[in-house]
Assembly symmetry: C2
Homo-oligomer: 278 residues x 2
């Protein structure tokens, strides 16, 4: 998906919601566990219930890989069930030396080889340039590089500061910016520190940011928009647990839709406030 297409989707759906598909067999409704592929059954119902309210889906690959071959089958079926007007994110946090990163790019981008053709993949930047650039060699595919994450341990290294006062996450953005463009690069920036976005936008004014941490992890959508939104919106805000686990009963998909709708309405307000839609 191109940047223009993504922006068009945001304006059409009046939403910049990404729904996380971190599907956990211990958290999905019990009545699904007798299905042949409970993970897929759950995902398909969630997708059908939310597709008109969100612009992106983000399965976290760990939740599939942990079941080995069976999990990979669920992932392939889930990917195939994603609506073509939604941006698909393989939340895989991969990264290796150049020729090996090329293999990870095949795994998630090259449907003919792997059975998966996501629009984008999340990338860990520790190994540097040749670990990131192989993901940028595919037309209309995106690398979403970890910058400032929302987890407990995020500040163990990401705010490591050099003598000029530049922190590692800033250095990551500055360097990675030189390897791609706002048309094929995004950054992961956690929502747990709203003002953190001021600094991020100094380094990446035009890039889209993938923002986890709204809802269950405590981030505020209003703060994220106040400090992080740009003229094209520039935000994909992810919610996982608050939506997909809204209910463990037979009404799980309905309840997921209700929660997604609340977020979509809040996002519509923000898009209106910013003059991005009217």
């Amino acid at each position: 998906m191109t940047r223009a297409e993504l922006i068009h989707q945001i304006k059409t759906k009046r939403s910049f919601l990404c729904v996380g598909l971190d599907t956990d067999l211990t958290k999905i409704p019990e009545h699904l566990l007798d299905d042949e592929d409970p993970i897929y059954s759950f995902n398909k119902a969630i997708i059908d219930a939310t597709a008109d309210l969100c612009v992106a889906y983000k399965p976290n690959i760990a939740f599939y890989e942990c079941y080995g071959i069976k999990g990979w089958q669920s992932l392939q079926k889930t990917w195939a069930a994603l609506p073509k007007d939604c941006f698909s994110i393989a939340d895989a946090k991969r990264g290796d030396i150049g020729n090996t990163s090329g293999r990870y790019a095949m795994a998630f981008f090259d449907e003919k080889t792997s059975g998966l053709g996501f629009d984008s993949i999340t990338i860990a930047p520790y190994m540097g340039k040749d670990s990131v650039t192989p993901f940028l060699d595919f037309n209309d595919k995106w690398a979403i590089v970890l910058a400032l994450t929302s987890n407990e341990g995020s500040l163990d290294f990401q705010n490591f500061e050099n003598k000029e006062g530049l922190q590692l996450f800033e250095q990551v953005i500055d360097k990675v910016n030189t390897w791609g463009t706002p048309d094929n690069l995004m950054y992961v920036v956690g929502a747990t520190r709203g003002e953190g976005f001021i600094k991020i936008r100094e380094h990446a004014p035009d890039h889209f940011l993938l923002v986890p941490g709204v809802g269950a992890q405590g981030g505020s959508l209003e703060d994220v928009c106040k400090f992080g939104m740009n003229k094209d919106c520039g935000l994909l805000v992810n919610s996982t647990r608050g939506i997909i686990y809204a209910s463990k009963g037979r009404d799980f998909a309905e309840r997921a839709r209700e929660e997604a709708l609340i977020l979509q309405k809040e996002m519509e307000v923000e898009l209106l406030k910013a003059g991005i839609i009217s």
Copy 2:
């Protein structure tokens, strides 16, 4: 595998060789391509030809994942074919927020769930403590954390330096040291800069180091041992291309054995010099 068992293997086999299984369909002998599972056929022949000369095997997961479900099948069969006296390394470079890293640990450590029960996994440290510690919760399993890698882009971030002159890779080792012990933690340190090991050993005198980059990537085994060996050896030196792609003919396994034997003999000399074996 415990540290004591690993050291015992090194002394018994007079080797600290790790054979990388980055099996690439475009590089393996053509006569194997008609097999039902060429990757597995190749790996099995390599393993049978080298098992008495090495103490570890390291499949890089990207080379399997790129083929989707089929690749995952090859990986499971390869893992099952690894000799029990060899240390097995899933070179996966994973890392995510805590509960998700727990899923990756299941994927590679918990045979009952995923079909894979590796002894260890390589980890990217960018996301900090909660991304690493879930891998340390398994008995006799290891996290092998990227510190100073051997690839072209390794210095983009790993030598980012704070005002005290501490570089990021040193900070990674210092912090990660506090999360585990030399009994469940190793570090990845590339062989391309022999003297680099002096600094590494200041921060991690007792830990085992997984060392890629000898051979094809230009590192010298003698330098690695001179600057990196400790009283327990403390090194697993990986070679991939030099061994597994020594020949593209029908003699590929024989030739792999010859190359592995050359390295094993060099390693025996180093172990004798250091008084670790007699």
